[in-house]
């Protein structure tokens, strides 16, 4: 039986106009679900790093990886789900906070080592960094006060240790001679 899981995939892509559209188009056309996507510059000029969270079984992840490789602008793809990785997300939360509730809101933020980055008459903006579970927990605790706006960056992930993220990448279709055996029937 195929088990649906979430996978974190890191991809190095050419930093060119339209690359995001190519990647997003591929996901929608092939019917892959991405619950999360973040893009930013990498350490190398001209290359961006994308981090996806893909929902699906091993067959889906293998197809996502191989189909991504077929895009000319994709340099490297790696499923880093099974590696030792640091996962972080940044969130900004605009929370309703009147004179009577402000102290309590700030106290909760402190418990999460989140910081207050803006104070207005009736709201606070709280900034937090962590994995999704931590951000979810903070959102849940602050909900009773009234959350006006939530902005989350989506997951970014980096391999622990001195090796580069995705250096053990499944380099299918480039220099490696053959794809791994596959056992999954759609």
């Amino acid at each position: 039986m195929s088990v649906v899981q979430t996978h974190t995939i890191s991809a190095l892509v050419n930093d060119l106009p339209g690359v995001l559209a190519r990647v997003a188009g591929l996901f929608s056309r092939r019917g892959f679900n991405i619950s999360n996507l973040s893009v930013g510059h990498s350490e190398t000029a001209g290359l961006s790093r994308m981090t996806f969270v893909v929902e699906g079984d091993e067959w889906v992840v293998e197809q996502v990886t191989k189909q991504l490789y077929k895009l000319i602008d994709v340099v490297r793809v790696s499923d880093i789900s099974h590696e030792q990785i640091v996962v972080r997300e940044l969130a900004l939360l605009k929370v309703k906070a009147t004179a009577s509730t402000r102290a309590e809101v700030v106290q909760i933020a402190d418990l999460f080592r989140a910081s207050v980055v803006d104070v207005a008459d009736e709201t606070l903006i709280i900034e937090t960094t962590g994995d999704e579970e931590k951000v979810d927990a903070l959102v849940k605790l602050l909900s009773p006060f009234g959350i006006r706006e939530v902005m989350r960056t989506g997951r970014v992930a980096m391999s622990r240790g001195s090796a580069a993220t995705g250096s053990r990448a499944s380099r299918i279709g480039s220099t490696e001679a053959s794809a791994p055996d596959t056992e999954v029937v759609p």
Binding site: V13, N14, G25, V75, G173, S178, A179, D181, P186
Partner: protein, 563 residues
């Protein structure tokens, strides 16, 4: 050397060995057209519809082994290229489409004849470019040709704003495309090849499934060597037809929905499939869970994404079909399999592919007669539908690259511009176009171009005054409820051809088939034959979509049939 963008395009085309481009001018692409007279070595064929320019370039590519090129202006002309681009993408055909675009400053402002061409064609091209700086053009042209013709080939589109074509920049054409993120794997992994050789040695009932990849990589000789050395019978997919000689003792036929029953039963009984350059399309496999239930699968393909996409693979090998087969032939042991071959001969005898004869004029008989007349060596271009399947079943190709058909996308009307493109690639040969009255009317505007150039194209229309394949589906699977299939307003195709100055004849009885084909073959210039075939004739076998071999409908016993 400083050149305008338009000059750069022409110069690059020549350096890539292009001799013919198919196109139709318009406002945004005009700078390119006004530059063409400076490059007399570039032959431009003016078509009547951009879709046909695309299909012609596709067929030219398939027939010549070179990269086909089509040119269109912006907006509606570019959108007319959508169908041929998707056709070429599905069938892995190397092709370059050059489109005009509104000037850079007008992009995004809904200018006249503006459309997001690169956006629209993103999923139906191997890659595409919107060139925003004339200085980028030499690199883009070099990369585009490289991407189109290497790895798993495919169409590449280059969108050129009018002012990019007009501006000048330094032209320094690169010797090589340098694309670090694009390096197709050509050589198969040696351990995997050895594993495959062992599996072939172990197998008692092996089959080769040969696909388009065998033809694209020019691996027919290697395929034949493998089949003969290891005594493995060969089945060809619709696009793999011609990769193995049709008169060879190890040749079985086509599998799948309308494949020979023999092939489907053989796959059902096989204990090993050696799939080469094919992709286990649903028309081949039917119901995946009951496809080749007893077989181990070796899958050789240059596109890693095809391995394990549709069918579970035991021994995947990424690589160019010719190189992998060459390596495999050095490892594989000589074998003989008299029992398996005898079993297949019994299957062949029990499930013959019959041709109805007698008083009815049928498509099968026309194709078989054409095959006899041309000795299995003609270039045959088809559309999509019943006629295509009859042609695939009954024309026995003895040579590779003679069979041009839209397999993956199933584009009706491909036969008219396709035959035109093939005729430009093979000016010394006759090109036979086989179509139905449905598809023919989708692209017949190109009769004008064919007549203008006096191309030696012979159009066969298997005319049943209906959309025959749809009628067949309605008859077999929708309680014979016939909806929207009757073409009651068909023109007189003979008069139509004559209006274009094309020799034409109508054939209404089986007795006239051979003489009509011979008469058409002897015409200097184009010819058209309107065969009035039995409208009730079906294509057999018919495996229902998503069905298994057990559900295959075989032909009823024909009166006076011959096999």
């Amino acid at each position: 050397m400083k050149l305008t963008g338009a000059q750069m395009v022409c110069e690059s085309l020549l350096r890539e060995g292009v001799e013919v481009v198919f196109g139709l001018p318009g406002g945004a692409i005009l700078p390119f057209y006004q530059t063409l007279p400076e490059y007399p070595a570039l032959r431009h064929v003016l078509v009547r519809h951009e879709q046909n320019a695309g299909h012609a370039a596709d067929a030219y590519s398939r027939a010549s082994g070179k990269v086909g090129v089509c040119v269109a202006t912006s907006g509606p002309a570019a959108t007319n290229l959508v169908t041929p681009l998707a056709t070429a993408m599905m069938d892995s055909v190397p092709m370059i489409a050059i489109t005009g675009q509104v000037p850079r400053a007008a992009i995004g402002r809904d200018a006249f004849q503006e459309t997001d061409t690169t956006g629209i064609t993103l999923p139906i091209t191997k890659h595409n470019y919107l060139v925003m700086d004339t200085a980028d053009l030499p690199r883009v042209m070099k990369e585009a040709f490289h991407i189109a013709r290497t790895g798993r080939p495919g169409p590449v589109l280059i969108d050129l704003p009018r002012d990019v074509l007009e501006e000048s920049a330094e032209f320094d054409y690169p010797d090589q495309a340098r694309i670090p993120s694009y390096k197709p794997t050509l050589e198969g992994s040696t351990p995997q090849v050895r594993k495959a050789a062992r599996a072939i040695a172990r197998a008692k009932r092996p089959l080769i499934l040969a696909g388009h990849g065998v033809l694209i990589s020019g691996a027919s000789a290697e395929l034949r060597a493998l089949a003969e050395r290891a005594q493995v019978p060969v089945i060809e997919t619709l696009l793999g037809i011609g990769s193995f000689p049709g008169d060879h003792i190890l040749y079985l036929g086509m599998p799948g929905m309308h494949g020979q029953a023999l092939c489907n039963y053989a796959i059902d009984q096989a204990d090993l499939l050696v799939a080469v350059g094919m992709r286990f399309d649903d028309r081949v496999t039917g119901k995946i869970s009951s496809f080749a239930p007893n077989a181990e699968v070796i899958h050789i393909d240059i596109d890693p994404a095809e391995l394990g996409k549709n069918v579970r693979v035991d021994i995947p090998i990424v690589g160019d079909a010719r190189r992998v087969l060459h390596a495999l032939n050095r490892e594989v042991e000589q074998a003989s399999r008299p029992e398996w071959l005898a079993d297949l001969e019994r299957l062949r005898a029990d499930h013959p592919q019959r041709i109805p004869s007698g008083a009815r004029l049928t498509g099968e008989a026309v194709v078989a007669e054409l095959c006899a007349l041309t000795g299995g060596r003609a270039t045959v271009v088809t559309g999509v539908g019943q006629h295509q399947m009859w042609a695939a079943q009954h024309y026995r190709f003895l040579e590779p690259d003679r069979w041009l058909t839209s397999g993956g996308l199933g584009t009706m009307g491909y036969e008219v511009p396709g035959a035109m493109g093939a005729a430009f690639a093979r000016p010394d040969e006759q090109v036979w176009s086989i179509g139905g009255d449905g598809g023919f009317q989708m692209t017949l505007s190109e009769l004008a171009t064919v007549a203008e150039h006096r191309l030696r194209v012979r159009f066969i229309i298997l005319n049943n005054n209906q959309l025959g394949m749809v009628r067949q589906l309605q008859d077999l699977f929708h309680e014979r409820q016939r909806v929207a299939i009757a073409y009651t307003g068909n023109p007189d195709f003979v008069k139509l051809a004559e209006a274009y100055g094309i020799w034409a004849q109508r054939v209404e009885a089986p007795a006239g088939v051979r003489a009509a084909l011979e008469a058409a073959a002897s015409v200097d210039g184009p010819a058209l034959l309107d065969f009035r075939i039995d409208p009730e004739e079906n294509v057999y076998p018919h495996v229902p979509a998503g069905g298994s071999v057990a559900e295959m409908i075989e032909a009823p016993a024909y009166e006076g049939a011959r096999s």
